[in-house]
Subunit: 139 residues, 2 copies
Amino acid sequence: MQATLTLKEGMHFVGTTDNGLEASFDASRDHGGTGQGPSPMQMMLQSVAACSALDIVSILHKRRRTITSMAIDITAERADTHPRVFTSMHLHYRIVSPDATNEEVRRAIELSQDQYCSASAVVKRSGCPITWDWELAEA
Amino acid sequence: MQATLTLKEGMHFVGTTDNGLEASFDASRDHGGTGQGPSPMQMMLQSVAACSALDIVSILHKRRRTITSMAIDITAERADTHPRVFTSMHLHYRIVSPDATNEEVRRAIELSQDQYCSASAVVKRSGCPITWDWELAEA
């Protein structure tokens, strides 16, 4: 994998992947940012949820289940001292589907968290536990 | 820290931070994505560079050095088997400054990588080494 990160102005950086996709990063306002994008740790947090989200979509689609809507609420705690790594993370999966069962959703999340999700594995191997739960509503 | 990730369509998710900043994530094209944003692991990779980049800007500014331009080239290797974690990462810092010395730039990167950069610390604690070098040009 390759990417390049380039300073635009102030603390605003734009990342460009080797396939030409862009993302903006900025410092938080209390560290000199001007709201041009999420902070790097906000982005890392969301990467974990996005990585797992793609697994869930993929697994449920392979089982021919319909996902009407899906969202993940992510919360994390960080260490008080530098480097301020994640110390705990929780993912709350919210799925609306007309045909997926609770057991299918639970199993999809479990497969993602225990086997497939690369970003979750990086965080867990760093020593930060990831907990999760879910709610499933019928479409 | 809090954020919410929401499915838009297909494999395209939008993350929204608790301070209202958005970022798009998508699966790679060979996994059903349509190029609406970087993949989660591309974003995690860039988070590491952005986290360190903000440190460097902050440290050099505290030393009253001018940064004319700055970019980081990031490369990473990943495991062949699931979960496909990062196995090595390299950051090449490119800085143009009229007044910063090579030693000041080297020291700024070292402080970031060894003490301050939260995202780099997460990756290193996961077992993935991060190497780095830099080039400094006069403005």
